[in-house]
């Protein structure tokens, strides 16, 4: 085996997997410093690791407030805000279709909930929509992007945005038990 295995592009991988658009559009110094710091840490820790990941869809979609400083928990009932739907293509694709679905009482104030067009490799497309958050509940903005290349190939991706404090509720983990060999197990009751 030749040399130590190292991760080819840790910074890129970090950007891609955590939230590419979020990182790419972070325009404050703190974010850049954080990315640099994490990437450095990653290089240190990953000196021997090798990854085989599933193929990434050449299409990705992210949904977030156009005001990049807004986090989901900052949004209150009844707010009206502009959302930025970003589609990134890593291939030359015709007939890229973007569809947005508003549920749970979120209302469209301005903009289109769909888009169809061609995208070139490396191109990103931003759709801006203005929505009104319901007075009660949170609602959900769900977006999908699809490109049917042929009868045998289709690329797609989807993303959701839930405004409000409870955008992400973590479930309570089950207590650990031991099996007959003393190893930790998680037991789900049927």
């Amino acid at each position: 085996m030749k040399g130590d295995r190292q991760f080819a592009a840790p910074l890129f991988f970090y950007i891609k997997t955590v939230d590419p658009m979020q990182i790419m559009f972070k325009e404050n110094l703190l974010a850049l410093i954080s990315v640099f710091f994490l990437s450095t840490l990653f290089l240190v820790f990953s000196s021997c690791a090798s990854y085989g990941s599933k193929p990434a869809s050449p299409l990705s979609i992210t949904i977030r407030p156009a005001d990049k400083s807004l986090m989901p928990q900052d949004i209150r009932e009844g707010d009206t805000l502009v959302m930025d739907v970003t589609v990134l293509s890593m291939a030359d694709l015709d007939r890229v279709k973007v569809n947005l679905k508003l549920t749970g009482g979120i209302m469209l104030v301005q903009g289109d909930l769909s888009w169809t067009g061609s995208m070139t490799k490396g191109e990103s497309k931003n759709l801006l929509i203005t929505v009104k958050i319901p007075e009660m509940g949170h609602g959900k903005i769900k977006g999908t992007v699809v490109a049917k290349v042929s009868g045998n190939i289709r690329f797609s991706d989807s993303a959701s945005f839930i405004p409000g404090k409870l955008a992400k509720e973590k479930s309570t983990p089950l207590p650990l038990k031991k099996d007959g060999r003393g190893r930790p197990i998680i037991e789900h009751r049927l």
Partner: protein, 738 residues
Amino acid sequence: MKKEFYSKFLFLCILLLPVLSCGGGGGGGGIIYINAPTGISVFGGDGYINLSWQAVSNADSYKIYMHSSSGVSKSIYTSTVSNSSNSYKWSSLTNNVTYYFVVTSLLSGVESHESFTVSAKPRAIFIPPVAINAVADDGKVVLSWNSLPGLTYNVYWSTSNGVSKSVYSGKFQNLTSTLTHSSLANGTTYYYVITAVNGASESSESLEVSSTPVLPSGLDVTINGSAFYEDKEYDLSGFTAIKPDKPVRYAIVEVVESSTSNVLASSSTDFAGNFSITYTPSPVSAIYMRLFAETTGASNPPVRVMDVNTAAGFTVAGADFTPSIGTSSQVQLFIPVSSYAAGAFNILDVFTYAGEFIKSLEGSPPSPEVKAYWNSGNWSYGTYFCDTFDAVYCPNGDGTYILGGDGSGGGDTDEYDDDVLLHEYGHYAASLYSRDDSQGGSHWITDNDLDMRLSWSEGWCHFMLAAVKEWMDINHPGSLSSSGGSPITTYVDTDGTGASFFDINVPLSSMIYSSNEVAVANALWNSQQNTFSAMSGIWNAFADYMPNTYDADLPANLEAFWDGWLTTNTPSFNEYSTFEAAFADRQIDYSLDAFESDNTGNPARKISVGAAENHTIYKSYSSVQADLDYVAFDGNLGVQYTISTSELKNGADTIIRVLNSSLVPIAGAYNDNANGLSYFDCIDDCPSNDDSKLSLLASELNFIAPSTQTYYVEIKSSVTRPDSSGRYGSYTLRITSP
């Protein structure tokens, strides 16, 4: 002694001459006197008493009187015997009964007076029993031993060996010949010693015996059952509404006591998901069945599915119930998709099938176990395989990480995406059986300029998932989750709303070169479908040649596999041609170009200045080593020529030089990379021969002809090529002049 006797006798006759008629015996009315015996000793044995005394002179016999009380005399006695000698064994007596004796001596019918009274008891020999039986029963031990009359026995016991009269847990006294030691714990071993007691005396300990109380046979509990999970069927549009029930195969099953969580017994499911467990309850209590997302290994493919946050194995637990002794209980464990754990059992099933596929090739299941770390929804890193620890992405070490989800209520989860799971299993197989030098990272199937190590690694996994599915479809019909309308060569990745998919058997025409992962998979698949040894031939190159025979200093890529396939399979030319055609279909140019053979200078074939030629550096059926090309051109004195390679494909990295008509290199007329840099020994930042980066690996030189003659351009693979490129490939040669 005899002389003394006679002298005394003579003296007595003389003394008594006046009154006695000396000379013996007989009749007469003379006085005869005989002394009573003295010095009597007695000893009691087992049913007898031995008596002995000092012999009396002239006595011709003795009489012994026995009585059961102390007032024994010649007139008060129970029994009497005559005896000629001065000792007697009185038998048939009762042990431990005191007998009293007096002895008299007789001379010519004259009996002496009684001796002093002596007494004794017949007694048994005083040792502990030597024949002890200890019989275990349900909660008790029955001891028995060969007892002796008149003795009592003590039994000492403990749950540890080394029992004695001073070290014991409990003691039983005044026993005769048996003891039933009850209220004992089944399964615990009890140790015993026994002593004999005679009055206040106690013998030493017997040899130690032990026994373990158990339930008699026929009181076991048998639990028969089956385990199924609900799968999600999918097609090219994503998940369908069909949720077939599938057996949980070869999985560990435990019987767990509800009140204590103690594991009472364990077994495993079979291929059909059935299990049967027999155990001995002590006592019978409420239990539940626990089913593991883990196979038993051994003859089955070892797989374990764990939670990524805790590295704890996923299990499900059935309802509590109390089994009946002597009968079998029926239990069915069914895991619906509404249970979070169901996904773990689909991962288990898919990986188990993949392991069985490898077993069909290797003869034994893969080992060590493949570890699957799964957590849906709370991680955003996706699905990937790690061959070792990494603090960020591989916190539990090597294994397949199936994380999915973007944490925002949407995103992708892969626990039911069998194709994604099988793809990652391909990485595990490469790690275990072959070589995988890929540096990993994100990759797109549309990318034709991947690092050659990456395109091989991912292309292999695309191919293997199709090969496994084909094997499943043939050997286990109905086992595929994509049977509803997705070809076995299709990779489907559901995303919560729909699905991305591609078919390695029908790739886009733009998916070409050995640096494209789908092209690699397609070439392997077409070869597997059409060549003589099918899967085994491919597996031999993958598992035997690449890790063991292949040059350790060269990266693992499609070229390594191709070398291995040619070496390990020794194909016929037709078989070679079949594989070569599969390569050619994806423009993987491991074949002769139109200008071969041009491995040396040929002045008869020249390139025209201003023209371009497409060449390959190839590994052919008959070639031993990589190709090199010589191209002749006419150079005129003082004219500058620009010689370049471009459009590098299939991992090519060229180096060029100019030679004169005698094939002598022209000094300074050579170039490796047009930008003057070398990428030798790069590891994680190797450049690919990307379209937009041709200047990195392509070659270019300017040459002013020192004379008018035929010159040659030599083109071969650069020895300072990066690990991302290869030894073979294709390029376009151009010679231009201003």
